[in-house]
């Protein structure tokens, strides 16, 4: 045992309490300010009201931004699912020269600062593709998000494939199943939960992304984070932003909850 004096335990406890306060008080302030009647956030709150919640509910730009975020998130997730699963199978089932490089390639879009990825793609769209008559428009954003989401699916599927017992697939082949049947009936069900978890993480990552989006979104198109950011820059309706932010905080519990359910489900089956 680590024998800590009472004083040391107290000091540690205090540091933990301050850290937790540092993490949660600001979020709490956002939630509580969304119920403020005032236009601007302040403390203490003078008057409570749900007026901003009602305003947010019928606000057209918020709906449009939310819709864009969902479309981009779904598009990026679809790209990430296909490409991430393919790379995971390649790296797990084969040994080849340059394996480490392929791994690095998948991680790179998320390892490099977002501004580098954003500026690089913006540069390609505007200085290379536009002069030769290709307008990526809305797809530029989906392509960008798809690129940095691949790693989420890749990591999850690869980790699961490493734990799959290969003799089950061999048994399936010996019993006369075609490769497609083996994949559909034997392989896929074994990594399905990792596939879904990867999809949720990819969607969550895309939904939250700001910096790459700033540089790749076509003019006049807002995702939800871009809408929040633009409102923060013009802080005359701060309380409306607090409502949207509160919804984002509440929605962020969904992926945590689902991924924990999936993790537990996978543990129970073993």
């Amino acid at each position: 045992m680590l024998r800590l004096s009472l004083g040391a335990k107290f000091t540690l406890g205090t540091i933990v309490a301050i850290s937790l306060a540092f993490m949660y008080i600001p979020l709490f302030l956002v939630v509580i300010n969304s119920f403020s009647a005032a236009r601007l956030s302040s403390w203490p709150i003078a008057e409570f009201s749900t007026v901003w919640w009602q305003a947010a509910f019928i606000n057209e730009p918020i709906r449009a931004a939310l819709l864009n975020s969902v479309i981009v998130g779904l598009g990026a997730t679809a790209i990430a699912l296909v490409l991430g699963t393919l790379v995971a199978f390649a790296l797990q089932r084969h040994n080849f020269f340059g394996k480490q490089t392929v791994n690095l390639l998948v991680v790179l879009p998320i390892a490099l600062p977002g501004i580098v990825t954003g500026v690089a793609l913006n540069n390609t769209y505007n200085q290379v593709l536009e002069p030769i008559g290709i307008e990526v428009g809305y797809f530029g954003m989906i392509i960008a998000h798809g690129t940095f989401c691949i790693v989420m699916v890749f990591n999850n599927v690869l980790a699961r494939l490493r734990r799959i017992n290969p003799s089950i697939e061999e048994a399936s082949r010996d019993l006369g199943a075609t490769p497609l049947q083996t994949f559909r009936l034997v392989t896929f069900p074994q990594f399905r939960s990792a596939f879904v978890a990867g999809a949720i993480l990819a969607f969550a990552l895309s939904f939250d992304e700001v910096v790459v989006t700033i540089f790749t979104a076509p003019p006049g198109v807002d995702t939800l984070p871009l809408w929040i950011m633009n409102q923060m820059a013009r802080p005359n309706e701060a309380s409306l932003v607090n409502v949207v932010a509160t919804v984002v905080i509440l929605a962020s519990f969904i992926p945590v909850w689902v991924s924990q359910r999936l993790a537990r489900g996978a543990d129970e089956r073993e």
Binding site: V16, V87, V102, L112, P113, T117, A120, I228
Partner: protein
Amino acid sequence: MNRRAQLSALLALPMLWLIGIYIFSLVMLLVTAFWVTDPFTSKVKPGFTLRNFEQIIANPAYATTSLRTLGIALAVTVLSILISVPLGIFMAKVASPKLRAILAVAITLPLWAGYLVKILAMRITFTEEGFFNSMLGPLGISGPGFSIVTVVLTLTYLWLPYMAVPVYTAIRQLPPNLFDASSDLGAGAGFTIRTVVLPLIRPAIIAGSIFTFSLSLGDYIAAKFVGGSTQMIGSIIASNINLNPPIAAAFSLVPIAFVVIYLVSVQRTGALERM
């Protein structure tokens, strides 16, 4: 189907995407850094000039901003370590199993709460008439306002889980008999932490620091919203991307260089292999 063909079939599409779009874009970014901007029309023309790099080196504002950003990224990393180690020790060695489970969820949950939401939250907390000033004002303490200090605090807030989770996991995995041995040999808790715990969790700290360092280095949204007049590397890249793309391209090589230097110096400690 033979194995070679199978492998090619698996890798063709992902590699086409990653190399054809992403690596191509990074290379074009590097190339654009040598292109010429027409000073009158601000149209970019292919060519070869070192002027963009000269401008960056000659302009002292660019150098100070690079150093300031580096300082911020290092400060965020140090602050994250200073919070994560006591937090990890408390969770792994002091807290009851139930409290430990609650704390484990509590430190990972904010990771999901949304990047901009957290910046907004810090903005509300530290604004002039905000929570911090109104709570501590009566004690004669006034908050940092929107300044470089708030940028460091906000970035720490954003990236802390990347440090706290691996550090906690590493401390939990330390064999308990090491602590028994250390205390049987007469070491006090502080001495044990310094000579036994810290050296053993160093790989976890380094792994976490890669995230806190490189994520802070590339950020500029925090500086924009809670930094007052604080500029970071990203602020300069963002403000040049439309006016002078070659300068933005040239300057974006600075954070890449910092991250690569950091990774290489970390790799020499051998910590990456043990990640």
